[in-house]
């Protein structure tokens, strides 16, 4: 059975529909990139997958014993976080909050998981530093470590490289790739179509046309060629 199955999903706000007819299935270990123009509903799709927003129609099914709270999420940064006084360890540890339930404090297992994931992201040395004083790339690593505390299965990333310089962007992509190789299923929203085509196994294109398929199928599809041509034009202009 697939890890995640989406059938005929419609997205929108109140009575206004942004996108409809989205269907795809995702198996464990897949790396899905969601591409599309601005405002096509990529972030809304992600929020719907996370149950932060009700779908207008269609259904989202989870399989392989994936529980609702076993999804890790790397959101886009909010204004609140920019000047939030919190140490790196406090933030990473808060990724374990979901599994606490009504238990008021973190136990030894949570703390161990936090240390492991900081190690994994190479931020152990920053553990006591203040989040707002870190560079953009370091902040993303912190949030990624937090997401890893929440999941071992499925990771949702909302534009993980926006605002990062090219070198850090590449490091970030490589980090995500290594997590995917370790067995995590990844869903990533990206503006960067070339990176999407380099790393993803599957592509979901939303916009005027909806497309879902493997990377190769996308390159050969009409939607893919149109979008690639557009992006290329945009880069040259």
């Amino acid at each position: 059975m697939a890890l995640l199955t989406v059938r005929n999903l419609a997205l929108g706000y109140e009575s206004h529909t942004i996108a409809e007819g989205i269907s795809f299935t995702l198996n464990a270990g897949d790396y899905l990139c969601i591409v599309g123009e601005n405002g096509s509903g990529k972030s809304t799709l992600m929020k719907t997958l996370l149950h932060l927003r009700e779908p207008m129609g269609g259904e989202i099914l989870t399989g392989d014993g994936l529980k609702r709270d076993e999804i890790g999420y790397l959101p886009q940064q909010t204004v609140v976080q920019k000047d939030f006084p919190a140490s790196v360890r406090e933030i990473v540890l808060s990724g374990c909050q979901g599994r606490c339930g009504l238990r008021p404090f973190y136990n030894r297992e949570d703390k161990k998981r936090c240390e492991e994931n900081m190690e994994r992201m190479g931020i152990t040395a920053l553990a006591n530093r203040c989040y707002r004083e870190l560079s953009g790339g370091q902040q993303q690593r912190v949030l990624l470590a937090r997401a890893l505390c929440a999941t071992q299965k499925l990771l949702l990333l909302d534009e993980p490289v926006s605002g990062l310089d090219p070198k850090v962007t590449n490091e970030m992509y490589r980090l995500i790739e290594s997590l995917n190789k370790e067995g995590l299923t990844v869903i990533m929203i990206s503006h960067d179509i070339s990176a999407a085509l380099q790393y993803a196994t599957h592509i979901l294109h939303i916009g005027s046309q909806i497309f879902f398929g493997t990377r190769q199928e996308y390159i050969e599809s009409e939607a893919g060629q149109l979008f690639l041509a557009q992006q290329k034009g945009g880069e040259q202009a």
Partner: protein, 283 residues
């Protein structure tokens, strides 16, 4: 008479001791919540809610209720829930909603008092509700007990839910997505905020409450860089300011509420300067 003799003379009176106990406890509770409210961009909720409480209080006064907390508390709690919930996706945005509700409640409160009050000293009543100038020194033993019990409850709730409050404040979407019942904790924060506000009305009155909520948190944020350190130090700052504020006002005969806020403001300036130099050394 030296300052200490003067102090020990005043401290013989129970009402002075009551004021000190209640003042310190209220300062403690309000600063605990302050950090979260400031970070959630709800600095003004204290102001808004206290005006709602003022409106409710004047209605209670007109109805001649002996225990007006029975009306004031539920009305304020309901408004707090409505305001904090409206933060995310309401038609009227958070700050506008707070401003709207607060001026409306203030206007209606004063209107009702003017139309129906049979008190001889209307402007005195209004002034003391707004600035809390007298009421803190007229607390009865029952008031103090209520205050102590509620403060203990607030502190216990805060300690038990500390980690959850942190998660919900730092990143509500992430908390929700990973299975934390964020809405429930927002409701909790709103309710506790309302309780603390109604309590603090006695101390500084409804116009100056915001200061009690936001100043200690802001001062602490100049100096410290982790959530725990900010929370703990904002409590310490708030308690010290309230304590010294009340002492000064007793010794010098200044109004209690405004003296505490003045001390808070001075401490904030000192913390900003200290923070500037600490940051400068680091860079």
């Amino acid at each position: 008479m030296s300052v200490f003799e003067k102090l020990s003379f005043y401290l013989q009176y129970p009402f002075v001791r009551y004021a000190l106990i209640a003042g310190v406890l209220i300062a403690l509770c309000s600063s605990l919540l302050g950090v979260t409210l400031v970070l959630k961009r709800f600095s003004f909720i204290g102001d808004g809610l206290s005006h709602v409480a003022f409106g409710a209080m004047s209605i209670a006064a007109v109805l001649n209720l002996t225990n007006n907390i029975l009306i004031v508390m539920p009305v304020t709690i309901i408004s707090a829930i409505l305001l904090l919930r409206s933060g995310q996706n309401a038609k009227i945005k958070g700050d506008a909603a707070v401003a709207m509700i607060s001026v409306t409640a203030l206007a209606f409160g004063y209107l009702v008092m003017n139309l129906f009050s049979n008190s001889a000293n209307l402007s005195g009543d209004v002034c003391s509700t707004l600035f809390g100038s007298v009421s803190i020194l007229t607390l009865s033993i029952t008031d103090v007990i209520v205050c102590v019990v509620l403060s203990i409850v607030v502190v216990i709730i805060f300690i038990l839910f500390y980690n959850k409050i942190f998660s919900v404040t730092f990143d509500e979407d992430f908390a929700k997505a990973t299975g934390t019942k964020a809405d429930r904790y927002n409701l909790l924060i709103a309710t506790v905020t309302a309780v603390v506000i109604v309590l603090s009305m006695n101390l500084v009155g409804s116009l100056l409450i915001s200061a009690l909520v936001i100043f200690p948190a802001l001062s602490a944020m100049r100096l410290f860089r982790s959530f725990r350190a900010v929370t703990v130090s904002s409590v310490v700052i708030s308690v010290v300011c309230a304590f010294s504020g009340i002492l000064i006002s007793i010794l010098e005969g200044t109004p209690v509420g405004s003296t505490i806020v003045a001390v808070d403001a001075v401490v904030f300036i000192l913390c900003s300067i200290a923070g500037f130099f600490m940051g400068g050394m680091k860079r």
